[in-house]
Assembly symmetry: C2
Amino acid sequence: MTFSSTLLENAVNEFARLPGIGKKTALRLALYLIKQPEAEALQFGETINRMRKEIKFCSNCLNVSDTELCNICSNSMRQKHLLCVVENIRDVIAIENTQQFNGLYHVLGGIISPLDGVGPDQLSIDALVERVKKEEVQEIIFALNPNIQGDTTIYYIGRKLKGIPVKITTIARGIAFGGELEYADEMTLAKSISNRIPIENYIEAKN
Amino acid sequence: MTFSSTLLENAVNEFARLPGIGKKTALRLALYLIKQPEAEALQFGETINRMRKEIKFCSNCLNVSDTELCNICSNSMRQKHLLCVVENIRDVIAIENTQQFNGLYHVLGGIISPLDGVGPDQLSIDALVERVKKEEVQEIIFALNPNIQGDTTIYYIGRKLKGIPVKITTIARGIAFGGELEYADEMTLAKSISNRIPIENYIEAKN
């Protein structure tokens, strides 16, 4: 692209460095900001930079936070003895959006994946084991993506927790609500049969 | 969306105000910047804000510019007597990318469109007429989008220029290169027939 302005060119390049933003979209975004009132456009950059400078990771669960302890961990209404283990911050937001979980989280910061060079040491697994011991956690729910890496991570952490009296569960894998049996892959269908649930539980869950 | 951090929430809202960016994409972009090294992430916001604060509009052609006069208008290698009239900055970039035009531009800042409430007074039409008179322009090429609004704008400006000895042309409308006749709309096909070009010109243009 040929630009008559280096200022514009630099801004377009910055936008285009973001994931999923190509050059043409980057140009559209930069020109949009040029047309906005100056105060509003400057607020954009300042808000982004303020976030980057001031954001913290909760010292307890490693979720993003404005304060030392995030507002989920510091909320006295939430069950301290129930821990949901997730891969990343996005998963915390997804589960919070369901409004169905009232415990605390533990963000691993990734998932064991030797092919991508991610081993257990890069994840907050030791911190998780410490928390379980110290905070008298009664149940850990693994909410990891249903794939080989997720299962490996669950298996590895499960072994680390051996001997500690804590109930370990995982979110159900099965046919998605609204999904169709004939289009489900064999693995999912097989697991949904072997992990079948008593009809009473199913009806209970629906009410 | 439920956020555990107001800093993150504000950043997501800022991204989501941009055109074509939804909440989920905004979250992805904000989290990407959180994971980047601080210096690189801060550079993002600072580059955008610097652009917004310092960018100017060329006093001659109204294109975006770092300086009072843009680097196209101040380039002594370009033909001063050939003017390409475009709707907006994006069109300047599109034409510059072809590397086929060596004159100057005039950015109207829009197109006459009564339905959208855009009249001639909101566009830089008077400035264009002034330029044509003052700078002894020999040819004006209209490079406007081929639709009713574009044609109205050409007609309106054409009338304003009456009596001034300047050649007025418009970029060719026709079947796009690589396009197929049978899928072209009737209007385009009709225009491409009525504006047919001598074979010598066509062969010349291809070489």
